[in-house]
Symmetry: C2
Subunit: 629 residues, 2 copies
């Protein structure tokens, strides 16, 4: 193995306290790379068919990638994988920070958590050693406190901690995992799974950073990145909110529970306004020169916010802002901090509140049901209060903590106002504005997700050289959902999927407006591993991951019937450039059928045995048994 | 276009004499690259469904590739494509020489011949101009004479000529196209098609070699090739015959019409013996440093051979040697020269004579039917005489000129002794020795072919770094035809297919024991074109070409029913390490079904609409209409 310091997966059996180390062969790392591909591998291997997501039979994996810890931008990421309590299918979520690189420096590429502990524990990993420690005193603590307490207890201020918050302990279905008090594995309820195992946190400390096969090539890549930082100047300056105003101008900013694509308060919650007002600094992840993370401080007023809990990303500004019609930036910052403290996904949280507001405005929910809260769109205070109630499972918050889809079911109202697929709320990019998202939100294995393919229709012209690296040579912008566009969706999906396997940041590693190109990701993997690696192998790994995830869902009995389209996309948008736009069910069904064909799946959207075999996943086909056509 | 000198396809309409120039866009070249991918594109576009291969509605394409003419080893190749008179399906054949680079220097990437001329003509292309000239005086001339005569007539000794020989004029079904009097587009009867159009030759002369986007990168690649020539030392020294003795030792040298895998006369027809005896020199193709071509001279005796007609390749030594039990090297050299003079495929020619010998030995053909020739295995003189009779269509030669499969039908004997798929005789690598060939000979679109995937089972271990570039990371030799082996077959097939699209020499550009690796082919294409090219795009082009060819066959009504296995593979081999070996029909059927699945085809072996769409070939799916599942 050229890369001396990888090859160890830690298995933690919470029932017995036994820990074992698995040392997979080099070929395993080449086939899966890390991240969510490896996570889904372990999920398929260790979680039985039909497992309860919150039962001990579920398996939670935290995986980094082969390049994690190498000193260039965008490599310090961790993927969490488990059966999701949100979707009942495969769960998948990525986060950055320093924890991922620290785990690598501590000697592991990944952790698989089996079973459940009888009492609260946390896992302490230090330079190749691991132990379970009592977490009774940490139970109920918010994420920042957990971090402080563990550092104090172990006497090392440089320990990094990934934990679930009190929301997870209370069973909020969309609970996140938080590290550094503000980096979130936000989506699909991975925090909820961790809490269900009585595992509060994973603390790591390591001193041995892996040595790259070619340190010179790593340095060259890092140098190129620094020299070309102006490619991502907007991201550095404004964070992920850099595009908010443009989206709003184009009618692509989801507003008032997706009733409109334009928000009159967009300016107030924009990256520009944030930079001019509450921004106190920029933060980063291990080795990353971009510094896209926002640090905000609100010292006064009702929405006081501690800088350690971070500033809102674009998704958060939308979900807790425009989704709810809220234009009070301080309120959004406060709500964001509450989510990070209590460990909740800001997207699902904001979207669920927006759904409740929509119901309230329509008289489907009354003040009696909202515990007296005037849950109108635009009521910033009500939004913040509701975040807190969800976290604490108080009043209506108890039900909203189940997410919008299940809340609609439980309350038997507003089912047609839910904007989710597989019970997973839509992120803040609109199919009515970027048509391919209508398809992708439906077919993505872990529910609606905006980071699973390139959805900018102008990407192919603006970044023709990068599109071409993926074999997308058409020089025209492809807005129509024709076959060329479907190829574009599928190939960029393979690439995005590969970045989630390699476990690198999609804001750093292409394929569109980001810093490094797809070919440079290949260079990065070569430089670190010494493998004769190519984009062909990388893309095939992306395809492998996607098929693994779909195969997991197929094993759980879910194919096309789970690839739905919310009724709300059939309701014409109001105002702005996207006024009147709907997503036609007929066209969408046609696209979905074509997409399955292009992906090499059957009519029910399940990977075929042939496709799995082609990808070296015959074992998955055997696992699927009669579910595999 | 970065590469100033490409982008022109010459269409020649022989009926009217009209010539037009098509200037495809850059995207077209990226999608098809050149060679047989572009050839099959034009075949599908311009040859109607159900065309008679020898009728004017057939279209003959001669295509070079984007890198042709750039000064590094292995780039001067031309692919001939047409509906094949041998198979009645897609025809496909490659050759080297100086003609391909000369065509590029004359301003064209390819020529599409439509219709048929009323009288014999030849095509003269010179620095962007093209004209049809009278060829009445050339009709009936052997290839070397045609070359001399055209050079004389046009007054330029540096003109390069590609022509069909007298065999083609007489309708020998496996007639080749010959350039430089010894370089052959040998297989699938492309010469027969050219002669059927009353087109005798294509003469080219150009003075403007294309300029590469990065001349420095081209130079670096060429330099690396020269510095690493020892990688292909065997090929330089012994030609393609370098492996003959090893194959014989392993029981993999087809002997006496595939009755045995060992030949007692192997030493006598080996590359080593050739080098020590008749070899007069080594020749090469434009820009190639390897010089693998043999020049032999036999000045005395019954088998006198003019050096200009070249020396035998491995395939020829086997087909005209061991297939026929002939160990007289001079006879094989003479027969090879006759094939090149008269323009015939040495493989089909030798294999057909071997089949006739097998029949003769079994008493299925008598001396009356052989015109008195004692057509026993090992009779060198009989073999040479029969080559000449086939070329001239005299006596039994008239029937043998139809190839072994049709001859067996016409004579109604020895059908079970025919070693061919799609009426296309087996080349000299044995499925009984290299198991994956049993599958590949069946499924290859233009009939049995040994250059369509990597068939050496030890390649994956000996060249792990190169195998890995194709995503084949398994470190074990894969001899068993399990799923891993099928992946290996499919992925190496995509790569070989890509080399036939790029139109580069497979003895120079990987993926196994050759000079350059797959990644270096990508570099070569980048250096010449300036494209942001990757191995992903290249492999997808390989897959695209393979699916194009299969789609053409599907359009002609042929799927799995054409992917057969000769009965003779079920007969145990006699003697040597492969004594007793057979290819089981049951196992082979299972492999074929799995292979279809892995390739993304339907149960009848036809590309699905989804696979074609994924590859950007929706137009082909539309063309196939109801034939496309």
């Amino acid at each position: 193995m050229a890369y001396g310091y990888w090859g160890k997966i830690l298995h933690v059996h919470l029932d017995s306290g036994v820990m074992t180390v698995e040392a997979p062969e080099d070929a395993f790392y080449r086939a899966y790379l890390g991240g969510s591909a490896m996570g889904c591998y372990f999920l398929l291997k260790h979680t039985p068919r039909g497992a309860d997501p919150l039962g001990p039979e579920n398996t939670l994996s935290l995986m980094v990638g082969v390049t994690t810890g190498a000193p260039f931008s965008g490599q310090s990421r961790v993927a969490a994988s488990a059966k999701s309590p949100v979707t009942g299918l495969v769960g998948d979520s990525q986060a950055g920070g320093f924890w991922p690189a620290e785990l690598k420096a501590a000697g592991f590429d990944g952790i698989v958590i089996h079973g459940a502990s009888a009492r609260p524990v946390y896992l302490w990993i230090s330079d190749g050693h691991a132990e379970l420690r009592d977490a009774a005193g940490l139970w109920g603590s918010v994420t920042g406190e957990v971090e402080d307490e563990i550092r104090r207890e172990l006497g090392d201020a440089r320990i990094h901690v990934l934990s679930c918050g009190p929301a997870a302990e209370k069973g909020v279905v969309f609970s996140s995992l938080i590290n550094l008090a503000n980096r979130a594995n936000g989506r699909t309820g991975m925090g909820t799974v961790m809490a269900s195992k009585n595992l509060k946190a994973i603390a790591v400390r390591g001193h041995r950073y892996p040595e790259a096969a070619s340190p010179e090539a790593v340095k060259a890549l890092a140098r190129w990145g620094v020299e070309n930082l102006d490619r991502v100047a907007g991201l550095s300056k404004l964070g992920t909110a850099e595009g908010l105003l443009i989206l709003n101008e184009e009618g692509g900013l989801p507003t008032r529970n997706w009733t409109s694509g334009v928000f009159e308060g967009a300016q107030a919650i924009s990256g520009e306004t944030m930079a001019k007002t509450v921004l106190k600094g920029r933060d980063t992840c291990y080795g990353c020169a971009i510094r896209c993370k926002r640090v905000v401080e609100i010292a006064e007023g009702p929405f006081r916010t501690d800088p350690r809990y971070g500033g809102p990303e674009y998704e958060t500004l939308a979900a807790l802002g425009s989704y709810c019609g809220v234009s009070d930036l301080a309120a959004v910052c406060r709500a964001n901090a509450l989510c990070n403290m209590h460990g909740m996904d800001t997207i699902s949280c904001g979207a669920t509140i927006a759904w409740a507001m929509d119901c309230f405005e329509r008289g489907l929910l009354t003040r009696a049901e909202t515990d007296g809260i005037d849950l109108r769109f635009g009521n910033a205070e009500a939004m913040v209060v509701m975040v807190e109630r969800i976290a604490k499972r108080e009043g209506l918050g108890r039900i909203l903590g189940e997410g919008s889809a299940r809340a609609a079911e439980m309350l038997n109202v507003g089912q047609d106002l839910v904007v989710a697929v597989k019970s997973h709320e839509f992120p803040a990019h609109m199919p009515q504005h970027k048509p391919s998202l209508g398809l992708m939100y439906s077919v993505n294995p872990f529910g609606a997700d905006h980071q699973s393919h390139e959805h900018d229709p102008f990407y192919s012209t603006a970044y023709a050289d990068r599109a071409a690296q993926l074999g997308l040579v058409d020089p025209q912008p492809i807005e129509a959902m024709n076959t060329e566009k479907l190829r574009y969706v599928l190939y960029t999906q393979y690439f995005y999927s590969a970045t989630d396997a390699a476990c690198v940041c999609q804001f750093v590693f292409g394929p569109s407006f980001q810093l490094y190109s797809p070919a440079q990701l290949v260079e990065a993997i070569r430089a670190v591993t010494g493998w004769e690696y190519t984009l062909w192998e990388l893309m095939k790994t992306g395809e492998r991951r996607l098929n693994l995830l779909r195969a997991y869902n197929a094993r759980e009995g879910c194919g096309a019937e789970g690839d739905t389209k919310p009724a709300k996309l059939g309701v014409p948008l109001q105002g702005g450039p996207t006024h009147g736009v709907t997503i036609s069910t007929q066209a969408w069904k046609r696209q979905r059928a074509s997409y399955y064909r292009l992906a090499g799946w059957d009519r029910r959207g399940r990977p075929t045995r042939g496709k799995l075999q082609e990808l070296g996943l015959e074992w998955v086909a055997d696992e699927l048994d009669e579910d595999c056509p």
